[in-house]
């Protein structure tokens, strides 16, 4: 009997030790879990998310041990934010969206107003963020990370060497440049380009579009190529259509065409004439500021924005990042001339007027759809 008692005591002791060890390790784990958080970051997917992964997410995860989950929902980010907010369960911590959407989300109180000089890093030379970011990059609730551009690209193999297109007029010139065109199935960009091709100066485009005659003029110009247009809806479609030679021209985001050109060796060329450029960047869903404060500071500093340009041809939104932009990470080619903001590319650029589109997008989209259906 004493023997048995002894055994019971021993095993009881061991159990206690095991419990204590487990308890200590649990405590350790939970404190670790507090230090390492999971950030749900919403972005555009594809080559763009990959550039963010390399330039922002991976260094941040290595530095802090945080885990970053990429969610490819920026295309419908406003709808998602609104639905999550109405359901009272916001699961997104940081969202990449366009400034026009950010303006609406901000007015609806879905995202946090940002004090840029307090939240963001100064440039290496001490310039405060409010002076270091390019014009329009800092909205009430918005901080831009890139400048990207809507351009028309073409497949150079579909035209003879001595008759390659070069301006936006050529996109509307079926006689000299035959073939199908792939354009975005939205009025945005198409109306601007139609007017420029019809002889309106790039800087006057939105003044003309605010008049009924201007809208009619733009649609009349689009009428001339309507039968030769394939309308795309997903950003991945235009490079595919060009590569398949389904179309000769395709409007696209410049980064996607760049990627197809350098990493897939496609014979594409970009028409920089009348590029419609705009910004894209971060917004913080209401209530998430404390969680993402450190990450936001990190991901918008001068070095990070310059790093991102190694992976995709979108220009950094900070002036101080531009001199640090170097070569493409995979192929080693100089990035400068592929940037929308490169001087020769930028001469006839149109800044997208977010307020105009905030006001007229609903009506013009309906009109555009009705025009398409005619």
């Amino acid at each position: 009997m004493p023997y048995n008692d002894n055994r019971a005591g021993k095993s009881g002791g061991r159990g206690l030790v095991a419990c204590a060890v487990a308890g200590v390790s649990l405590v350790g784990l939970s404190s670790l879990a507090q230090a390492q958080q999971t950030l749900n970051i919403v972005s555009w997917g594809g080559a763009y998310s990959m550039s963010q992964q390399k330039a922002y997410h991976e260094p941040w995860m290595a530095q802090t041990g945080d885990e970053i989950v990429n969610i490819d929902r920026s295309g419908n980010a406003l709808a998602g934010l609104r639905a999550q907010s109405q359901a009272g369960n916001v699961t997104w911590d940081l969202v990449d969206m366009l400034p026009a959407d950010a303006m609406i989300a901000c007015a609806e109180g879905l995202i946090e107003p940002l004090d840029h000089d307090e939240l963001l890093a100064d440039a290496p030379d001490g310039t405060p963020p409010s002076e270091d970011f390019v014009d329009g990059a800092l909205g009430e609730c918005f901080v831009a990370s890139i400048v990207y551009s809507n351009i028309v690209a073409y497949n150079s193999e579909m035209f003879p060497d001595d008759a390659q297109p070069g301006t936006i007029h050529d996109v509307f010139d079926l006689e000299n440049y035959p073939g199908k065109r792939a354009l975005i199935r939205k009025p945005i960009n198409n109306l601007e380009w139609a007017l420029v091709a019809d002889g309106v100066a790039p800087e006057d485009v939105y003044d003309v579009l605010e008049t009924e005659e201007g809208i009619q003029r733009a649609f009349a110009k689009l009428d001339t190529i309507k039968d030769h247009v394939i309308w795309w809806e997903e950003g991945a479609q235009p490079p595919q259509l060009l590569a398949d030679r389904e179309v000769a021209f395709a409007s696209a985001y410049n980064g996607r065409i760049f990627n197809a050109m350098v990493t897939e060796d496609q014979p594409f060329e970009i028409i920089w004439d009348a590029q419609v450029f705009e910004l894209d960047g971060w917004v913080v869903p209401t209530g998430k500021l404390d969680k993402v404060r450190d990450y936001l500071y990190f991901a918008t500093d001068t070095q990070r924005l310059a790093d991102q340009a190694q992976y995709i041809s979108y220009g950094p939104a900070r002036v101080s990042s531009s001199p640090m932009v170097s070569t493409h990470a995979e192929t080693g080619i100089e990035m400068e001339e592929h940037m929308p903001t490169y001087e020769p590319n930028f001469a006839t650029a149109i800044p997208k007027d977010d307020e105009f589109w905030a006001d007229y997008n609903d009506e013009l989209t309906q009109r555009f759809d009705a025009w398409l259906a005619q």
Binding site: G75, R82, A105, E246
Partner: protein, 417 residues
């Protein structure tokens, strides 16, 4: 007889038989109800509530009455003729000031922008600039933004103070309220929904007819072949049915596009010239071809299950009575398959008017359905009221189709298997 009525029958434990029977019936009813209650709960949560919510959203109009409550109250006595007075403008300034502080003017400005383009920036700019404005507000607001000096702005505001609105339904059928309150057609260049509704309906009819045309012989073959062959054939029918919808849709893109398999083949065979390739995708043809293929099993399976039950001796009898093959088919076999045709037809038709991913991918411009517009307003324009109104009309159309079908053929005659 009289004895049994005087002394009620009882069970072994003395309870009257009637009561005991009633109890047993009630118990089994409760048990049956409990058995179906998970399903009932599921139906309520997953169907009844969302549909009720959708119907409610299509007429709900809270923005102006809650966000501009002071303005709404001040506008009550306005005659709608000349511009409203200073007290209305002051109320508006106060409403916008409060809204700007609470940062909740976004939905209001979107709502008013549906009624009048430009209201979004008018509201947002005015609200931002309020701090620098001094009374009298009438002059100050009109000077800040000329939209406030237009009478129809105020007519719209007054009209939209009602907590309910029909304007989403009107927009869904290409109508609108004029500032004076009459229902008028939208300008021709904005008409879009009615033609899309019609297109959705007739293309769904074409697809239903094509699935019947293609599916009928296959179902007949399935039902009449010996079992081991028909099982093989059935697998061939079901295999695509089990394949992802997206895979089947994109496969059609690969086959039908102008640099695709079919065009390449015909160019190689010399049927068409290289520069005259057929456009078979990103238009109506694309939608009809892809959807006919995708919905074919929904026609074949009900047809097959009905044909399987038709005894071959009927046809033999008809032939032995001297009927020629076609007459026998038309007078004997075909009428017997009607329940299958009806079931397959209604199934394919209702599925196809609700389809949206396939038309979006292969429909191009001319092959889009009204469902693509619903998706656009749900996901992109965020005009959920309009999306709800269009969806409600579509629901109504489906219910009407169902009722007509029930009246003509009778739902109880439908056999699904």
């Amino acid at each position: 007889m009289s004895e049994s009525s005087a002394i009620p029958l009882t069970t072994a434990d003395g309870i009257p038989l009637k009561t005991s029977l009633r109890r047993a019936v009630r118990r089994s009813r409760i048990r049956a109800f409990l058995l179906v209650s998970p399903l009932l709960l599921f139906l309520v949560v997953a169907f009844v509530m969302p549909i009720a919510d959708m119907l409610w959203r299509s007429v709900d109009n809270p923005e102006v009455s809650t966000q501009l409550s002071r303005t709404a109250a001040a506008l009550e006595g306005w005659d709608g003729e000349s511009l409203p007075g200073e007290e209305v403008f002051a109320a508006l300034a106060e409403d916008l000031r409060v809204g700007q502080e609470a940062r909740n003017l976004g939905l209001l400005s979107s709502r008013l922008n549906y009624e009048k383009s430009g209201m979004r920036s008018t509201i947002n700019r005015t609200a931002r600039g309020l701090r620098t404005l001094d009374p009298p507000y009438k002059e100050a607001l009109i000077a800040a933004n000329t939209t406030w000096g237009e009478r129809d702005t105020w007519q719209i505001l007054q009209r939209e103070t009602s907590p309910w609105t029909l304007s989403y339904y009107l927009a869904a059928v290409d109508r609108q309220l004029s500032p004076a309150g009459d229902i008028v057609k939208v300008p021709a260049h904005l008409e879009i929904h009615v033609s899309l509704f019609w297109r959705t309906l007739w293309m769904s009819l074409v697809i239903t007819a094509l699935t019947l045309l293609l599916g009928y012989p296959i179902a007949f073959l399935l039902a009449s072949l010996p079992l081991r062959y028909s099982n093989l054939l059935l697998i061939l029918v079901l295999l695509p049915f089990w394949t992802s919808l997206l895979v089947r849709t994109t496969t059609w893109i690969a086959i039908l596009q102008s640099q695709g398999i079919l065009n390449d083949l015909m160019v190689a065979l010399g049927v068409i010239a290289d520069d005259a390739r057929w456009q078979m995708i990103h238009n109506k043809t694309g939608t009809i071809v892809a959807m006919t293929h995708i919905l074919l099993p929904f026609m074949i399976l009900p047809l097959y299950s009905v044909m399987k039950t038709i005894s071959p001796s009927y046809m033999r009898a008809a032939r032995s009575l001297g009927g020629r093959p076609f007459l026998c088919f038309r007078r004997v076999y075909f009428p017997l398959t009607l329940p299958g045709i009806a079931a397959g037809g209604i199934l394919v038709f209702i599925l196809s008017i609700g389809y949206y991913i396939t038309p979006a991918l292969v429909g191009g411009q001319s092959g889009r359905f009204i469902t693509n517009t619903i998706a656009y307003h749900m996901q992109t324009s965020l005009n959920w009221g309009l999306a709800a109104a269009i969806a409600s009309i579509l629901l109504f159309v489906v219910v009407v189709c169902y009722l007509v079908f029930n009246r003509l053929i009778g739902v109880d005659k439908v056999k699904l298997g």
